[in-house]
Structure formats: C-alpha cells, structure tokens
C-alpha cells in the first residue's frame, strides 16, 4: 500500500463513520473522527492481517482501548472486508452484531472487547506479553483516548509494559484534548504526556499533527526499530476532524446528528475526498 493513498482512505473512514452514526442515531462522532488517520495507517499499511481469516493466530493485534470510537473501527473493518458496508449501517441496532462498544465475540476483526476505559491497554499489554513468553512474532497496537489516561489502570499497564521491555507493543494516544466535561486541563490534566510515558520507560514519539498519515507511518517504522522498550505515539489531533461544525466542539463527544447536519457533514467529507 502506497502511503500517498492513506489520506483518501482516512477520509473514506470518516465518511463511513458519519453514515454509520446517522443510521444509528446515537454514538460518538468527535472521538471517532479524530482517530481515522491512525486507523488508516494501521489497517492499510502497518498491520499484518488477513480479513478472510480474522482469527489467524499469527496476525498483528489492534485493541481499541477508547472503545467509544467503535464507529471508526467498524468503518475500517468494513472497508477491509471483515463485513459489508450494509452491516456497518446496523450500528447499535437491537439484535445486530455491531454493539455500541466493540464486542470481540460477535464482530469479525475485533481483537478485544473494550468500552470500559483503561482496560484495553492492559489487554493489549497481555497480548504483547503472551507473544514474548511463547515466542510469537506478532505485534500489538492499541489506541488510548487522552481523557482515558486519567484511569489509574493505564499507568499500571504502562509500568508493566515498560518494566517488561515489551518492544512489540505500540500505544497510541489520541490527544484531541477534549473529554465529556471539558478540556483535559479543565477536568484533570494528565500533562505532560510525553514525559510521563518516558518516565514509564517508553520510547515516545510526539506528532504535532496527528492527522499526518506520512508522519504516523514514519513513527510506526521508528517503533519497529526500537528494542527493549514499548513505543508511545502521542498524536495531537482535532476532535471531530473533517466536519467543520464538529471540530474542537466538546458537545460532539457523543450525540446524534440531525438530517441537515448529516447532509452537511457528508458533503464536506465528499468534497475533501475529491481534492
């Protein structure tokens, strides 16, 4: 996969997110849109996966620790062929397999059930540990929300991953600086993020533009060269990225769109896709 296509793929993920959330009538647009570029890089360049064999034991793993960004994960999974675009539009519907938060039991391509914040990063750490203990080559990727890292368990996991030198683990932080009740500083500041992860023995890469797919891919390449340390890639992102009226608006953490808002969001993203 050429990295030059990744911005277009990220844009398509965003379009799918908006369509899925329009179909569901509820969900989390802001924090889903901010992750699209990271997911594009992981699923279209970085990870060794086989959508026709979702349970392939040697596959790389991805754990969406910020499980509320499920629409973003489902979008990329549908684009990769784990299930159909039609299925994507069943998001949050009763009896469907696309739960509000990822459910590994019923959704092909989901490597871990998540949604309760702080637990996914530990599960990813466990996967990475298992690979080390049993001599597997797969790598493990996880994506944390920046509000999520207020959970103490995240630092238990970070301490373990650093202490056990899990260099097969990459932790992304989607640093959009907004959580439900306000900015991170207004609520409970976790900053400085880079120094904290460094202090927990991580190799830390900070991306000032967390939507720059070339930079994300370069960071992932760098992570592969790091030995005896897990890598943390802090992506400074914009919550609601790609939809003008959602960008940096805390109110779009988790709410449904009106028909008019949906059409506008779709139009903006389609236009961006043509550029």
């Amino acid at each position: 996969m050429q990295t030059s296509n990744l911005p277009k793929i990220a844009n398509e993920i965003r379009l799918n997110i908006i369509e899925a959330l329009h179909a569901s009538g509820s969900g989390h647009p802001g924090g889903s849109l901010s992750t699209a570029d990271i997911l594009a890089c992981l699923y279209y360049k970085e990870m060794n996966i086989d959508p026709s064999n979702p349970d392939w034991p040697a596959r790389d793993r991805f754990v969406l620790s910020k499980g509320h960004a499920a629409p973003a994960l489902y979008s990329v999974l549908s684009m990769k062929g784990y299930f159909s675009h039609e299925d994507l539009l069943t998001l949050r519907k009763m009896g469907g397999f696309l739960q509000g938060h990822p459910d590994m039991k019923h959704t092909p391509g989901v490597d871990m059930s998540t949604g309760s914040l702080g637990q996914g990063v530990s599960a990813a750490t466990g996967m990475a540990l298992s690979a080390k203990l049993f001599g597997d080559d797969f790598r493990v990727y996880t994506l944390l929300g920046d509000g999520e890292i207020q959970e103490g368990q995240v630092w238990e996991a970070a301490m373990f991953a650093g202490s056990h030198k899990l260099d097969n683990l990459v932790v992304f932080v989607d640093n959009n600086n907004l959580q439900i009740d306000g900015t991170l500083e207004e609520v409970n500041s976790p900053y400085p993020l880079d120094d904290k992860f460094r202090a927990f023995n991580f190799h830390v890469i900070v991306l000032e533009d967390g939507h720059d797919t070339a930079a994300i891919c370069a960071a992932l390449d760098e992570a592969r060269t790091v030995k005896s340390k897990p890598t943390c890639i802090i992506c400074k992102t914009i919550k609601g990225k790609g939809v003008s009226f959602m960008e940096n608006q805390v109110g779009w953490h988790g709410k449904g769109m009106t028909e008019e808002q949906y059409l506008q969001a779709k139009e903006e993203l389609e236009k961006a896709g043509e550029a």
Partner: protein
C-alpha cells in the same frame, strides 16, 4: 477428627498448578506480589519462565490475563480474594466475563479464616460477585484432593472459572476410592433424613463435625459437599429437600448471594422448603486466630450444630 491429616488448599493450589504444568505447556500463572502467601511460589520455583509477577496492580493483571487468553493461552490469575475479585470486579465482568475468555481466577484468603490481618483482608463477598457474572463457573473446594481435582477440571473447562482456596489447614475428607470431581456436581458425604446440611469450602469439614454432634442428639443429618456454587447441582438440592424436608446451607462467606442464596433460589422456585442460611450474617470480620473467629461467628462444627438444633426444634 483430631488426628486427621490437614492441608490448606492454598498449598494444593501451588502444588496443583505445578503438577498441571508437567502435562500442559500452554498455561501461565500470574500473581500480584503475594506468591509466598498464595503459594504460587511453589510453581514459580519450578517454572519461572511461565510465572509472571504483575506487582501490586491487580486491575492491570486481570485485563492482561484477558489479553493473554485471546492469544489462546490459559492464564491462572492468583491473589487474595479481596484483591483478585473485590478490587477488580469490573475488569472481570467486562474484560473476562463479557467476552467469555478462558481465564482461571484463583483466590486464597477468602472468608474470615484469613485471620489476623482483619476485615480488610477477609473477603466474604467474592462468591456472590463471581456468581452474578453470566457464564462464570464458581468453585470452592473442600480439601486438598478436591482443590487439585478442581484445578484440573478448571483447566479442561473452556471459559472463565473462579476458584476459591483457603489459608486455613483443612481436613482431607475426599481420600476415598470412589472420589471424582465434576464441575456442577455435589456429593453426599453422610446419609441422613432429618435435615440436610449443604456446605462448601472449609465448611464441609465443619458440617461433618456438626453432623456428629447432631447424631448424639438423635438427629440424623445428611451432609452434602457442594464445591460448585455455579452451576449448582440442582437435582442434589431438590433430592435433599424431598428426603429431609429441611435444608441448612453453610458457607464461610456472606449469606447474601452465594451458596445459601443459590440453594434458596432453586428451592423457592421448584420445591419450597424451609432453609437456614449459616454464614457471615451481613457483617465484617475482625482480627483473630482463624479457629477462634470461626467459632465466634458461628461457623465451627459445634456452633453450627447449636444453630441447627435450635432451628429444627
């Protein structure tokens, strides 16, 4: 029963895991800085490469175990009941229970027989908490033989299992030729039709002592060892109710939500029968020697016999 051989089931945990490791190479043991107390240190000494000390960070330990299980390996996660269940209920519920992952949760120091450490370390709620999780199997073995057999059965069972082991040395009561352990099956240890005593864990030996006291009073008690709290051996409970007309449950645990409640649920729906629930009566424990505490809180064989005698009169 003074000269009976006694072994704490936490010792069985350490030795049982070590024995299991000789047959299977796809499981690991995790602990949270209490390996010397849970006795998983026995395993660590023999298989250090398959032992992971997670440090004093139980939340991470539980969710890591979930992640390990997704890779096809079987983690046995061990600590005190208060911390490997009480502290991390939500991690177990969401990261292990909901995806039905193959994690084996092993606790020691459940109940007031944890002793001198006092109420903060005496978990009387673990069996209830684990029983409420859909798909969770809950086992509380009664002695060394059953503890080892339960560990093996837990390994062979695909899905999450909670096992509660004890700190207090307990009489070996299952050293009979016909003994076998099956998840979901209880066993009649003593026949009787005046009252049925259904017990789990270290309370099984106390139930046997209680039956001796009752026999002296002319009361013939049936004693049932019920190591699996979930799924419960309903037919054995119903048969006991049919034959004995009165049922007593005995557990070193809160009477709210565990063995006593499980028995009441079955009987109230299928065969209404008077039940007396013996256990911790919605209260905390305190510091003290294990045997002294069991007696004070009405959980020694003698005290149980008094309660039963007064109740059935």
């Amino acid at each position: 029963m003074a000269d009976v051989k006694k072994i704490a089931t936490r010792v069985s945990l350490g030795e049982g895991l070590t024995a299991l490791a000789a047959e299977h190479d796809d499981f690991i043991v995790m602990d949270a800085d209490v390996a010397m107390a849970t006795m998983t240190n026995t395993f660590r000494q023999k298989y250090p490469e398959r032992f992971v000390d997670c440090g004093i960070a139980e939340a991470n330990m539980m969710s890591m175990a979930a992640g390990i299980a997704t890779t096809g390996r079987v983690p046995f996660v061990c600590s005190f009941a208060m911390f490997v269940v009480g502290r991390v209920f939500e991690q177990i519920r969401n990261s292990i229970g909901y995806p039905h992952l193959n994690v084996k949760i092993c606790s020691t120091h459940g109940g007031i027989s944890a002793g001198e450490d006092g109420a903060t370390h005496q978990c009387n709620e673990d069996l209830t908490l684990m029983r409420t999780i859909p798909g969770m199997t809950v086992i509380c073995p009664s002695d060394d033989i059953e503890a080892r057999a339960a560990l093996k059965a837990a390994y062979e069972h695909v899905g999450p299992v909670y096992l509660r082991f004890g700190r207090q040395p307990v009489a070996v009561i299952n050293d009979t030729e016909d003994y076998s352990f099956t998840i979901g099956k209880g066993r009649v240890l003593r026949e009787g039709t005046d009252v049925a005593l259904i017990a789990c864990g270290i309370m099984v030996q106390e139930a046997l002592v209680c039956a001796e006291f009752l026999a002296e009073e002319g009361i013939q008690a049936r004693v049932i060892n019920m190591p699996t709290i979930k799924p419960l051996d309903e037919s054995l409970v119903l048969k006991a109710a049919e034959d004995c007309k009165k049922v007593v449950t005995i557990e070193e645990h809160s009477v709210l939500g565990a063995l006593g409640s499980a028995v009441c649920e079955v009987l109230s729906e299928k065969r209404p029968t008077p039940v007396k629930r013996i256990g911790m009566q919605d209260c905390y424990g305190e510091s003290g020697p294990a045997l002294g505490l069991l007696d004070k809180y009405g959980l020694s064989g003698k005290r149980i016999a008094e309660t039963v005698k007064n109740w059935i009169r």
